[in-house]
């Protein structure tokens, strides 16, 4: 582990771990991080520092391998159809379990100090939340959640598969076929993994760098420190009443990939950074109890899938409901109803379409004054915009301090011809 990654592993933020019999060659940089059929996860306690330095007790799934930091729990990555074995050890003092939310893939209750083995076949390609389903929602909201990403076969070749799904719907396939091939989408197609001949992004942690080449994962959660403190105070075997937890839940911190506000906005793992014409896939998950309404500036996005149901009609929208695991239990999500606890977007990375002026003039020539403007000792170039929840209560920390909540950035680094804007590297 290099120094850069060592520092990261003591910070909130995403790490990833590949799992399954069918490897994803080249996904991760080092042999230690390469796909293993078997991984070890344990249930542990950690203390997580919030954006204002308030310390909050949490539970997490901890991986036993090289990547053993703590919050949020590691992203697990597999190929669809792979045989997967997860060894789970409960190091906490009440019963816990593991489930891929919305599926039958789960363990029985694991008593304190006990271990169990979960064997399963990775489901259809998509974006899944793994959780502790016991005493719902308490164990999940205490931190026992993570992203489980299932890739389609053939992604290694990059050209064999050009969508994230097996199979996509007709309209999703048409959209991905059109990227980079039609007048409405000048630029490039979407690329599922960083190609071998493109140099790695030094700003991303090695263990996730290749997966996030034209992809981002946005894992949302909310924290009520008072409830976490009460759970910590319980004796061995005691559990917090789930109904009381739900009705008392009044979150004070709103996290995106375990971070909030400035730290989430300036996190290269969360912020989307690309040149015009470089489409990005976003995988959104909500582990919490609050419904979000996520608004992207600068581009409308295409809503590809809700709870891994690939959409037949792919709407171009600027704000979308992200529901909860509890809502999923009530019924299937849709554009017009509950948003699902997971969803996928495609950001086409069009040149922001309402910039006046000749669309054939590069922005570096059309808006030179803006690109040279310095405000608050920060150059306005490259072009930076927010993505934030429009249920604006979630843009707070400790009841205020706007915008230190669930927010990140989208940044346009340069024109479609790959000439960077001033200040972009």
């Amino acid at each position: 582990m290099n120094r850069r990654d060592f520092i990261r592993y003591n910070m909130c933020g995403l790490t990833a771990l590949a799992v399954g019999s069918v490897g994803i060659p080249g996904l991760f940089a080092s042999q230690a991080e390469a796909a293993a059929r078997t991984i070890n996860l344990s249930f542990e306690e950690v203390v997580v520092e919030m954006v204002d330095t308030t310390r909050v007790y949490h539970w997490v799934f901890k991986s036993g391998g090289a990547i053993s930091h703590g919050f949020p729990s590691p992203v697990l990555v597999a190929r669809t159809g792979a045989d997967i074995t997860i060894n789970l050890t409960n190091n906490l003092d009440e019963a816990h379990a593991f489930q891929l939310a919305g599926t039958d893939i789960r363990t029985d209750s694991i008593p304190p100090g006990a271990s169990t083995v979960l064997n399963f076949v990775a489901p259809a390609a998509g974006t899944y939340l793994y959780i502790d389903p016991l005493n719902a929602p308490v164990n999940r909201v205490m931190g026992l959640y993570g992203a489980f990403i299932v890739l389609p076969p053939g992604v290694r070749e990059n050209t064999a598969v050009n969508t994230p799904y097996t199979p996509p719907t007709f309209k999703v396939q048409q959209l991905f076929n059109d990227l980079g091939n039609t007048p409405q989408f000048p630029g490039e197609p979407w690329v599922p993994l960083r190609p071998e001949d493109v140099s790695p992004n030094p700003d991303l942690p090695l263990a996730i760098e290749r997966l996030l080449f034209r992809t981002r994962i946005w894992l949302f959660s909310q924290v009520d420190p008072d409830l976490n403190l009460q759970v910590r105070g319980l004796g061995p075997g005691q559990i917090f009443d789930a109904g009381a937890f739900r009705s008392a839940f009044e979150p004070e911190y709103f996290l995106l990939n375990g971070k909030a506000g400035f730290f989430a906005a300036h996190d290269h793992v969360s912020a989307v950074e690309g040149f015009i014409g470089e489409p990005h896939l976003i995988r959104l998950l909500n582990a919490g109890l609050a419904t979000h309404s996520n608004h992207l500036h600068a581009n409308h996005y295409y809503l590809l899938a809700i709870n891994n149901v690939v959409q037949n009609s792919v709407a171009s929208i600027d704000s979308m409901t992200l529901g909860t695991v509890e809502n999923d239990a009530v019924g299937r999500g849709s554009l017009f109803f509950r948003g699902g606890s997971t969803q996928d977007w495609l950001i086409p990375f069009l040149r922001p379409p309402d910039i006046p002026g000749d669309p054939n003039t590069p922005l570096r020539d059309l808006i030179p004054e803006e690109l040279a403007t310095v405000l608050g000792n920060v150059l306005q170039s490259p072009l930076k915009y927010p993505m934030h929840d429009h249920m604006e209560q979630s843009q707070t920390a400790a009841g205020g301090n706007y915008p230190q909540g669930a927010i990140t950035d989208i940044m346009f680094l340069g024109d479609i011809d790959k000439v960077p804007f001033p200040g972009s590297v």
Partner: protein
């Protein structure tokens, strides 16, 4: 053994952090000007007090007979029309280059043209650009016809709640250049909307527009009366150039994470409880105010532009069949960018939902016989999922 501590992140860029927390002040504009095809003016903020009906005032937590609102004024209109809640509607034409001269009289604010996608300096987000003082000329194009809105994006959690928003509609051209009714169309109708609805009366498949007779804009909102006692910078973080993210700079007594609305509205008209206090959820009387209730004739097309301007989940139920032709200003099925989607039929009585900032454009064909048809919206808490109020209005169909 000590429990492992996981840190919040590294505050290694004080200039970026300070700009994130305390956006710089700026004025002037337009930046990189282009020839404008439409100009308009706005001022903010203008404070107005919305009177509350006694039945509402009696059970607000603030216990006042009116509620303080901050609004965005159109200074080119007489005051009774220019100082309204929601703020006066803006209409532009598809393809316009707009220059909006915005005056900032009280404190620093911004305007974000929600769903319009210009450069960051024209996008009105403080921490990625600036907060304006005195005045600024925002410049943006309106290239996709549909339903948008504009709102202040400073301490947004509070400023949007306080009423600093209004509708923004981008009209498509009338396919008949000789018609007397050219875009921008009169608010209330008649006009044309972008759509792809083969078989719908009057649909023009060459231009992807459909005519409507009557137009309604329903901005559905709720207020927490306690929040309306606060000041502009309530619970903001302190500005500290040396160490912007220091723990000491955070406020810790805020209430803006907890939204407990006690006033419910459609397009600025308060829903007055009609049910007895022990009925839960509370049900409002039918709103008859002409700003909200729709008056149409038989065999007409009504266009409803529905906006969630709230921090709650809305479950909407319309008593007539409708066709959703657009979401968030982008029309389903209209090529090239929206050729991957299709309009959605919503049968009468089927609930559909929105969350904050989401918009639907709904086409309704009135029946051949007169009648009164209901619209209901359930206000649902974003965490508990509980319905806290039901507001109602009507579509009156006359001979």
């Amino acid at each position: 053994m000590a429990i492992k501590l996981i840190r919040r992140g590294v505050a290694d860029d004080p200039a970026e952090a300070l700009k994130f927390i305390c956006p710089p002040a700026f004025s002037g504009g337009p930046i990189d000007p282009q020839p404008a095809t439409r100009t308009l003016r706005r001022n903010l903020d203008v404070m107005i007090d919305l009177p509350l009906p006694p039945a509402v005032a009696a059970r607000t937590r603030a216990l006042k007979d009116k509620i303080r609102l901050w609004t965005i004024e159109d200074p080119d209109l007489p005051q009774d029309q220019g100082r309204t809640f929601p703020s006066p509607l803006i209409r532009t034409v598809q393809g316009d280059v707009v220059q909006a001269t915005v005056g900032f009289q009280l404190d620093a604010h911004t305007i974000h043209w929600h769903g319009i996608e210009p450069t960051p300096l024209n996008d009105g987000v403080g921490h990625t650009s600036f907060e304006a003082t005195s005045s600024f000329v925002y410049q943006f194009a309106t290239n996709t016809a549909g339903t948008y809105f504009y709102h202040c994006h400073k301490n947004t959690v509070l400023h949007f709640e306080m009423g600093l928003y209004g509708g923004l509609i981008v009209d498509p051209l009338n396919p008949d250049p000789d018609s007397l009714n050219q875009a921008p169309y009169p608010t209330g109708g008649p006009g044309f909307a972008s759509a792809n609805v083969p078989g719908f009366p009057g649909f023009d498949p060459a231009n992807f527009v459909v005519p409507y007779d009557v137009e309604a804009v329903w901005a559905v909102d709720s207020f927490d009366s306690i929040w309306h006692l606060l000041n502009h910078d309530a619970f903001m973080q302190k500005c500290d150039a040396n160490d912007p993210m220091a723990a000491a700079n955070f406020t810790n007594d805020g209430i803006l994470n907890v939204f407990r609305p006690d006033v419910f509205l459609i397009s600025g008209v308060v829903s007055v409880p009609a049910s007895s206090p022990e009925v839960s959820p509370e049900i409002g009387a039918n709103i008859q105010d002409p700003r909200v209730a729709i008056n149409a004739k038989v065999n007409q097309t009504v266009l409803i532009r529905l906006l969630n301007a709230d921090y709650l989940i809305h479950e909407n139920i319309l008593g007539l069949d409708s066709v959703a032709i657009a979401a968030d200003g982008h029309p389903f099925g209209v090529p090239p960018l929206n050729r991957y989607s299709a309009p959605v039929r919503i049968p009468a009585g089927r609930p559909f939902r929105t969350t904050s900032a989401r918009r639907y454009d709904l086409l309704v064909r009135t029946p051949a016989v007169p009648g009164i048809f209901p619209f209901r919206v359930k206000f649902i808490d974003w965490i508990s999922g509980k319905v806290v109020h039901i507001a109602r209005t009507v579509i009156k169909v006359q001979p």
